[in-house]
Symmetry: C2
Subunit: 302 residues, 2 copies
Amino acid sequence: MTQVLIVGSVGIDTIETPFGRAENVLGGSLVYAAASASLLAPVRVVGVAGDDLAPSETEFLAKRGVDLAGLEIVPGGRTFRWSGRYHYDLNSRDTLATHLNVLADFDPKVPLPFRTTPFVFLANVDPALQASVLRQVERPRFTVLDTMNFWIEGRRADLERVLTHVDAFIVNDAEARQLTGQANLVKAARAVQKLGPETVVIKKGEHGALLFHRDQVFSAPAYPLEEVYDPTGAGDAFAGGFIGHLARVNRAEPEDLRRAVIVGSALASFAVEEFGVGRLARVATKDLEARIRAFADLSRFA
Amino acid sequence: MTQVLIVGSVGIDTIETPFGRAENVLGGSLVYAAASASLLAPVRVVGVAGDDLAPSETEFLAKRGVDLAGLEIVPGGRTFRWSGRYHYDLNSRDTLATHLNVLADFDPKVPLPFRTTPFVFLANVDPALQASVLRQVERPRFTVLDTMNFWIEGRRADLERVLTHVDAFIVNDAEARQLTGQANLVKAARAVQKLGPETVVIKKGEHGALLFHRDQVFSAPAYPLEEVYDPTGAGDAFAGGFIGHLARVNRAEPEDLRRAVIVGSALASFAVEEFGVGRLARVATKDLEARIRAFADLSRFA
């Protein structure tokens, strides 16, 4: 078992789904990913928040052993805020407001003891920040990048640059199509591989995920939930589980990558069971193991 | 190994996809399903065509051992015609024209020797015709029903009536939602089970298929094709493979149903590789076996 470094956003979210509304709840890619990865391996984070974020909000991460030394608190600053509304089928959403606040001027500084972390997850933030963190880490063993439509539209050059330096890219189906102009997901994945990463994971929400590693393909199911309350953070929880598993086994062989997709899928399935990060904060290792067994049962055939 | 009886449509299709156009090619749910099932078990069909359908068109089915004694040819009649256009991502299509022709007055007569067939597939036609065929079969061992949005809209009462008499219902995701009013597919499947069938298969196109059997769920991947030329008939090929496998093993235990979904998925993946029924007509048993092995590799993890 070795360590994971995560850079990403810390946010205060307001979320509307067909099942309700949650106002000013802790969110952000760093938070969901760290909540997820910390079940599997020691996690270190690099991020920023304003002093409007109550220190009690991130206590559950510290209790899980997350090293928050790289979480910069800007005195008098306001934390990044996002609000969104999901459509009735939960597969799409409208962003109602985004206030970058302290994220706008964030210049990530990776604490010295974090700079030799072997497994690095560049969660969804401005690709220029992702690149800056990557430059500060010395020869990581395995690096994973996430992004979103906003950066594909507005920061394509920066994104393509950082893509050339990572081992794996995690993206959802719509974003893979947007990035590559390919409607067919196999072609889209192959096009992303040509941009740099040898490993591409395409998340398909309720339809599971596809892993492309060199010329191999692995298809992971989604856990068949009757109730999905809030998809926010599911992708970050997935990625946190993915890199967390690799750090736990301290290896990224083809078999490990497959298993990592299942672990990520299992954690994503917990993430959506409640509003915000609440369910992920309470998941125990034995819950995770039981759900991984359920994934095995879900996809086995003679 | 035992026999399969299939009732469905025989059609002449005109198909447009982003990759081209095929004019007046053999199609229909019976044709695709029989082409698929006949790789696995002896098949008997009940359907209707006009004498504008050249006898040479169905020769490949006869060569595969399909018993065409139940295919009624109406002298001077015109065969059912359908034309459709697929959208760029191939996940949706517009029907441009439907001419029922001889299907409009079809009164299916199941030949006497067919009436004890153990495995019965009621492929997509008017649910009243499906019910009529079902009444003529004596105590089938396992019955499978397919349908489409057109009948859910226009013949819901007939459809719900025949649903109470079948063991398994095969439907695509949009149709499952349409039939039950449930956006969540797990809830939709449970709602369909309440209408009668113990087994429900929800096809999700490029996202694979879900099998619900009693309280169990199985998730089958789709074969990751880089080129999908024509999705027409993929669902019928799937269903033909599903029932064909059950007939081949002469059993419908939970493990058989899982394997049947994989066999159906494999045959559907061949169906879309060319326009019309051409690829299915040429698939050999060894091709099918190789693709089933590819499905196993696609979904395995340690």
